[in-house]
Amino acid sequence: MRKLRKVLLLGSAVGIAAVGLAACGGGGGGGGGTQGGTATVVIGTAPDYLDPQEEYTTQGAEADWISYTPLVTYKHENAPTGNDVIPGLATALPTISADGKTYTMTLRKGLVFSDGTPIKASDFACTAERMIKVNWGGKSFFTDNVSGATAFDKGQSDHITGITTDDATGKITIQLDKPYGAFTNVLAFPELGLVPCGTPEHTLTTDMPPSSGPYMLTDIVPNKSYSVVKNPKWAALNVPDIPVGHLDRIDVTIESNTQTEAQKVLNNQADNFDAGDTLPPSIVPQVRSQASDRFEAVTIPSTFYFFMNVTLPPFNNELARQAVNVAIDRPALQRLASGFLEPGCFFLPEGIPGHPTSDCPYGPADGHGDIAKAQQLVQQSGTAGQSITVWGEQRAPRTQYVEYYADLLNKIGYKATPKLISDTTYFPTIGNAKTMPQTGFADWIQDFPNPVDFYLLLATSSIQPVNNENFGNVSDPFIDQQIAKLEPTPSAKLDSVASQWQAVDEYTAKKAYVVVYGSEQVPKFFSDRIDFDSAVVHPTYLNDWSTWQLK
């Protein structure tokens, strides 16, 4: 499986913790604030696709999430409640059979697309098949689990046999090959936002299918600009908990220079700096001082860490791994991220069920590290003086993270040398078994708010000859057993096993398999025109345009 939401960042990242914001929520576009009007957004990175079944970045999801609604979706709220799955176009969350392999839902009655065409249960099957046909980058989440989806993908069948629909009753049944607790999260992917049967099964670039959400995409000039306007049919559908939206129109312009992008928002020439972009460090002090009432750094559920290959010296020695965890100076890394990093030591980030509330085992998360103690541990481990190659990306601030880390390893008694390669080839290179990296940079931004999405990175089953994402080749029977035991837990019942996930995560931290240093923060930055408090930064899809309103 692959990481879904690869937030495309253009440089370094942001600081300051997120605080709860007044969520727009509810089904209304009513309430306080101005209704209607137009906002302008400048984004530094163009969406990979606007096609609802093909986008795979936050820039694409921001537009598609409010234009195409899946059967289930997430609350349009900030973290932590933004992680809650709610019914979308289905009447309720799926009913799951006792064996965990059959998911049943019913489509709401009276739903129509933005062109007035009725939404049918069979549109879900068509949407899923289209998602596979256009070759969405995350389709394996679906094909690995749904019966017959792989055969359909390989052209061995005309339809996905595991999906049955009844247009008369609106009933949708999905059969899985094996229980997969996070499947409700899979159903909430925006790529399963409904489009009508008959939508061309190739990438759409300018003319999008009719909308099934509060907004619809229009005036698309690829890689230059596009707009979303209100779906005139949506409000009458009365879909609870999905906002109808306040603004009539949002115009999006791609502005590749983030300095200019930020300057425009600072000067109120544009209304929003895209949360998927990175504020240039040089402008951060100006933004913090001049726009403190319309700027905030929001922590997103993500884990930034250095992996350590437990099959190679020196990190096949637990004391050596502990030494690095003892020495790490997380506030230093926070400064390298221009403050846009929330220090942390656990693999499960805050906001994910199971995130430990206990103390870090090797010193406080905001401590500066204990070099002397680390040197002792290295001496004790008998690995002092060994050569280490530290892998990293040629991209700020990740380059700086790795240079810091290499220097740290040298300080505690190793001979470390950074090896920096292009960010486009970095993960395939370190994920190739021939490379056998000793240690280096890694990160994970949640695909969906489920601990299993993170722990697959430390599962023995994830160790592959190519595209390996378990970079440290961690193979621990306890972790594997716990994943096998907890993975089938349905998303809606995650709270019931949170303490067990917490125990796993505390065990991982104690074994020092990785050196976690924190979670990334993204900028929430608006012009003076927008009501800052009501605007939601969703933990998975970032800016929720349907919650924006003019002051």
Binding site: S12, P281, P285, A332, Q334, E403, D407, L408, P418, L420
Partner: protein, 350 residues
């Protein structure tokens, strides 16, 4: 066999050969003075060239003293991070790197004299070490270029025919490829896997990698004009005379032709050093030259570019040093060329 009295004598530079400039000495009528002595006299009269040459030498000496400065003055190393450290500046305690990630500017004290970079490393220390690396690469690359270009020029120009065709077309091929692109392609590829010569391997982070790349890509710029000179020289009477006396090809190339192209090679050297330093800076700026943790002026400029509005010193200081070093060697090189080759036949072409 009739011998042209104006032809250069075997084994000596073409003192009487006007086309290579050294004959100017004869024109000035200072019989008994060798061509190199004449060139030195001309160079000594060129005060501007000498001043800039002296500036370059001072920069080289400063860079050579980098370890002394780091150990005894700055008390740090070029790769030591001081991100969360503080420093006292005129009685006031300041963060080396602020909480927002902005590094301290020049303190004009022994610690962080020229400020720090985003990793809290001492810019002055890195500047000197970076200079060592940049200059080392410049000198090694120039040596490689000169050696290869001379061998290729002598071989192609002397033997002509198929060998000349193959070598010349190879040079054309390299020449036709934009230097920066070729350097990036080679630098990026070799930074990961290093360079394997069978008997020995060069690590991807070694300074030899950019030095070899730059040395190789600049070979045609020197080999082509030298080959032209060899083609002309091989037809001269003194070569004929040597051949008639039974001298072999290797002897003619090394004893007769090489001394007569030596002045051109000497003229090329400072110009090649300047160009090699510039190319190294460009490649390092783009991430395809010097690899961390080694600093170079190019990597320092690259590291500082994202902080230009708030920490301009990170780009201005290494940039200024680069300008001074290249200016110094270039103006001095022009002086050498004027002294050795007053008709200025030798030019670096791009």
């Amino acid at each position: 066999m009739a011998v042209d009295p104006t032809a250069p004598s075997p084994g000596k530079p073409a003192a009487l050969e006007p086309s290579f400039g050294l004959g100017e000495g004869v024109i000035e009528g200072q019989a008994g003075v060798g061509p190199y002595q004449l060139a030195m006299r001309r160079l000594r009269r060129n005060k501007t060239a000498l001043a800039f040459g002296a500036m370059f030498v001072i920069i080289v000496l400063m860079c050579l003293c980098a370890p002394l400065y780091a150990k005894h003055v700055a008390h740090t190393t070029p790769s030591a991070n001081h991100i969360t450290d503080t420093v006292k500046v005129r009685g006031e305690t300041k963060d080396v790197v602020s909480v927002g990630g902005i590094p301290i500017g020049p303190t004009w004290t022994s610690h962080f004299l020229l400020g720090a970079d985003s990793n809290g490393r001492d810019v002055a220390v890195r500047l000197l070490y970076g200079g060592r690396n940049s200059l080392e690469i410049g000198f090694i690359a120039t040596f490689i270029s000169c050696l290869l270009a001379t061998v290729i020029a002598l071989t192609a120009g002397y033997y002509r025919g198929v060998l000349d065709g193959v070598l010349s077309r190879t040079m054309d091929l390299i020449w036709a490829y934009p230097v920066i692109l070729l350097g990036i392609a080679l630098g990026t590829a070799l930074a990961v896997g290093g360079l394997n010569f069978g008997l020995f391997t060069i690590n991807g982070t070694s300074l030899w990698i950019p030095a070899i790349i730059i040395g190789v890509v600049y070979v045609p710029y020197m080999a082509k004009p030298l080959r032209g000179q060899v083609l002309s020289l091989r037809e001269k009477e003194f070569v004929e005379a040597a051949r008639s006396q039974g001298a072999g090809n290797l002897r003619i190339m090394s004893r007769e032709i090489l001394p007569n192209i030596a002045s051109s090679i000497i003229v090329f050297i400072p110009l090649m050093i300047a160009n090699a330093i510039l190319l190294e800076a460009a490649l390092s700026f783009l991430g395809a030259g010097v690899q961390p943790p080694n600093p170079s002026w190019g990597t320092m400029i690259g590291d500082g570019i994202r902080l230009i509005p708030s920490a301009m010193h990170l780009t201005l200081i290494p940039g200024g040093m680069l300008v001074l070093a290249v200016l110094g060697i270039n103006v001095f090189g022009d002086g050498v060329r004027d002294a050795l080759d007053p008709r200025a036949q030798v030019r670096m072409e791009h």
